[in-house]
């Protein structure tokens, strides 16, 4: 039963990016503990940004030094091409989001205070602020890094939680519309915990089936173990539920609009970009590495899910009257488009093209969505950010530049050529077609036409309709926000006009596929 234990080994160098982020997070907690209040955010911001940048540098260094071909840390973490690419993406997105988060005024002064109570007033006047958000964000980012790189299901589960728990809290910290924010937190928490329980039970069943939680071993067991298919299918299914929930695929998308709307917009940006990237990385790894031998069984299901997700996302988005909810539904739809790429498996070459397509899509979508939410933070009226679409009417007249940028982002979401979104869609769809998923692609095309409708509707609203008398005012963006918007716009243009470098990078990252 219990064999002799021998001391394990850990390749600290490979895990360096994660370790840096987590270390910075812990230091951040120390800062919270010991630094005087007026110094905290002054210390936090550089600390956070530097750690992210450092982690990014380490990732690049890792990639240059040569991608390892076997999992690290006793097979617990797989630092391979896709993982490195995803790390880079997440770190960039996180960096940008942090610049957005840094823009004060998004977060509550005293989360524990009852909204509208005297103590909240007092906290506001005393200039209190929850600088804890920085360590929390760092922890979340660390989880995001670990999640797609986790090579066994336990690590995946822990990473999932490390990623989610801080986000649950961050959701509830919006400065304005406290009730919405708190509800978002509760809903996100309850549903998230629910789904992670499913993930865990799936893990348990697969463990029972294969006698190991190591993805490669599970995959190996698929062939050899017999007679326990119930365990296998139930386990795989529950695992899938957990993962699909995280990416907000239908029919598990219900939480997304509520949470996106309720939580502070910078956090929404982080979730919409970073979490999606991480979750997709993990999804790919689990389904391709862990259940690769089973794809004949799961790909039909994923077909259905993808179709449902695209349709639900696109159709429900039309009925939305709230900009953040609209963006949430659009992110659901984009999740569906990405799923199209996930099912386009086949030969190694085929997988490579599908994987690289997904990777590129993730980059393009992530950057654009951060930019879009950054714009949302800038359009405000008396009650804070103006979410209701009617308030956006005629924005094109009041501040043409901002409206133009936002319209550009929307066009990118819609996948109009010469924007990054187009090449993302193209890459995924092309992979899907060559993977024999043409029907799926046609559905996707129709869905994106429908989706285009509501993106266009907003453009119409902003440019072709006359502004409301007491329309929202566009605040002068802080340097951070301006930089974020600028960066996102620039990236969207560049990826739309000359995507070759990133495409090439994604391709070479996907070349080695996932290590086993």
């Amino acid at each position: 039963m219990n064999g002799t234990i021998q001391a394990p080994t850990i390749e600290y160098a490979l895990l360096a990016p994660m370790l840096v982020v987590f270390g910075a997070a812990i230091v951040g907690v120390l800062v919270e503990a010991f630094a005087p209040r007026y110094l905290r955010s002054a210390i936090h911001l550089p600390l956070t940004l530097l750690s992210l940048a450092g982690a990014f540098a380490l990732t690049v260094w890792q990639a240059l030094k040569g991608v390892p071909t076997k999992p690290a840390a006793m097979g617990a973490v797989a630092v391979d091409g896709p993982a490195l690419f995803i790390w880079g993406t997440i770190l960039v997105l996180a960096f940008v989001s942090v610049m957005l988060i840094n823009d004060e005024g998004h977060f509550v002064a005293a989360a524990a205070a009852v909204p509208g109570s005297a103590e909240e007033e007092q906290a506001l006047y005393s200039g209190a602020a929850h600088t804890e958000i920085y360590p929390l964000v760092l922890f979340a980012v660390g989880g995001m890094l670990l999640f797609p790189a986790s090579n066994d299901l336990l690590v995946a589960f822990v990473a999932l939680e490390v990623m989610s728990l801080p986000l649950y809290l961050l959701c509830g910290l919006a400065r304005r519309r406290r009730l919405l924010s708190q509800e978002a937190a509760v809903k996100y928490f309850l549903l998230g915990a629910f789904s992670s329980a499913f993930f865990l039970y799936g893990t348990a069943l697969l463990y029972g089936y294969a006698g190991s939680i190591d993805l490669a071993r599970i995959n190996a067991a698929l062939g050899t173990v017999g007679g326990q298919d119930t365990l296998l299918y139930l386990g795989a299914g529950m695992l899938g539920v957990g993962l699909l929930f995280k990416i907000g695929a239908a029919p598990f998308q219900a939480w997304k609009p509520d949470v996106y709307q309720g939580s502070p917009t910078p956090i929404t940006a982080l979730m919409a970009s970073g979490t999606l990237v991480a979750a997709f990385g993990a999804l790919l790894r689990v389904f391709w590495v862990g259940l690769g031998g089973l794809d004949w069984d799961w790909s039909p299901v994923l077909w259905g899910v993808a179709i449902l997700t695209m349709v639900v996302g696109a159709v429900l988005a039309i009925t939305q009257t709230d900009i953040k909810r609209m963006l949430a539904y659009s992110s659901i739809a984009h999740g569906g488009f990405l799923l199209v790429g996930v099912v386009a498996t086949g030969t190694a070459a085929q997988n490579t093209s599908a994987l690289s397509g997904i990777l590129f899509y993730l980059v393009a979508y992530g950057v654009t969505t951060v930019g879009a939410f950054a714009v949302v933070t800038m359009v405000r009226d008396a009650g804070g950010e103006a979410w209701h679409l009617s308030r956006w009417a005629g924005l094109g007249k009041r501040s043409p530049l901002l409206a133009a940028v936002f319209a550009f982002f929307l066009l990118a979401f819609a996948g109009i050529p010469l924007t990054s979104g187009f090449f993302g869609k193209y890459a995924v769809f092309q992979a899907a077609v060559s993977g024999g998923a043409t029907p799926l692609v046609i559905v996707g095309v129709v869905a994106s036409a429908v989706a285009a409708f509501f993106y266009v509707r907003i453009i119409v609203l902003m440019f072709f309709s006359d502004p409301a008398a007491d329309g929202p005012s566009v605040v002068l963006p802080s340097r951070g926000t301006a930089a974020v918007v600028g960066f996102a716009a620039l990236a969207t243009v560049v990826l739309g006009v000359y995507p070759e470098p990133v495409l090439h990078l994604a391709h070479s990252a996907a070349q080695s596929l996932f290590v086993r």
């Binding site: 002799t4 234990i5 001391a7 919270e32």
Partner: protein
């Protein structure tokens, strides 16, 4: 399994005794009905009505409970480590130092945020 049988025996014994003595209590004693006796005891003043399902109590206790959970979990990890220390060797030591330091960081945070003082 064999190892647990005796515990079961003892448990049955103790439970039997406890239930028995608590059970017969009402019958051994006299019955003298008196409304004052049947009120919750509050040094003689009118008992404050307690809401059904229990009243609300200071969050302080919840925080204590949370801290307890956290440290209890830490203990969960310390025990196997301690038992297997010889096999894990220096690696185990280093890891445990990291682990405990991490916990201590959180501990310091709680401490500084008055999470540990009672008032």
């Amino acid at each position: 399994m064999e190892l647990y049988v005796p515990i079961l025996v003892l448990a049955v014994l103790a439970a039997g005794f406890a239930v028995f003595s608590v059970g017969i209590a009402p019958f051994t004693g006299p019955k003298r009905w008196n409304r004052a006796k049947l009120d919750a005891y509050e040094c003689g003043i009118e008992p404050t009505p307690q809401p059904v399902g229990g009243g609300r109590f200071p969050l302080k206790y919840m925080i204590t409970a949370m801290l307890f959970i956290v440290f209890d979990i830490e203990i969960i990890f310390l025990y196997p480590w301690a038992v297997a220390f010889d096999k894990l060797g220096v690696f185990g030591l280093v890891e445990m130092v990291l682990f405990i330091v991490t916990v201590l960081v959180a501990y310091a945070y709680v401490w500084r945020r008055r999470g540990l003082d009672w008032d």
